[in-house]
Amino acid sequence: MGIHVKFFASMRDLMGDDRDIESEIIKEKALNTVDDIWNYCAEGKERSANVLIAVNMDYVNGQSQIKEGDEVAFFPPVTGG
């Protein structure tokens, strides 16, 4: 199943398109938390303090545990309305 990672708005400009992380990688790299996912995708890029995170469309923080099949999204402060 793996993990699906999404980036929105200016975060996509920084990080590139959505990506799927395969089950083997998750195990091999021991990706257990949102922070682990970011570090794996970011290749050294810093995550600024105001970046918002959702797992399966609910807001979470970086220490939040992830599991196979989750959708993890990173995005900048929202500017709708």
Partner: protein, 147 residues
């Protein structure tokens, strides 16, 4: 309760008219309706803006707006609520967002409408990219506070 995410221009007054006509169960019950409409201006932070692109997170947006309305319904005894939000390419003078609530009393209507709007502004996953006169574009980096 209804949430609409719309990539075509919408007319807030016509939507309100139609929505209200289709809630006959509320006849005689509601004494107060509070409405907010956000409209695209042609300037922001000192620059002229010719057009805007509104991105959203499909699925999470609807879900989050539903949660907001559900919570307000309990907290303010809403009889009905309606949220409409544009996405995609938007031109100056286009309505961007409509929030409307129906209650028995005005205090609840005013407070619920404002709270839904503030929550939407601070937490619903939408992002604006402005196209400036001259061709440059830029992501809007944050919303101003509403209280």
């Amino acid at each position: 309760m209804k949430i609409i995410i719309d990539s075509s221009p919408f007319d807030p007054w016509r939507i309100l008219d139609e929505y209200q006509k289709n809630m006959p169960k509320l006849d005689g019950q509601y004494g107060a309706t509070a409405v907010f409409v956000g409209t695209m201006r042609d300037f922001n932070e000192g620059d002229n803006v010719s057009e805007m692109f509104l991105e959203h997170y499909p699925g999470m947006t609807e879900r989050h707006l539903e949660n907001i309305c559900q919570q307000a319904t309990g907290e303010y005894q809403l009889l009905e609520s309606l949220v409409v939000h544009r996405v995609g390419v938007i031109k100056p003078n286009d309505p961007i967002v409509l929030v409307a609530v129906w209650t028995a009393h005005r205090k609840q209507a005013f407070e619920a409408c404002r709270e839904i709007m503030e929550d939407l502004k601070s937490k619903a996953p939408f992002w604006k990219k402005e196209q400036l006169n001259g061709g440059k574009d830029r992501w809007v980096d944050k919303n101003t506070k509403g209280y």
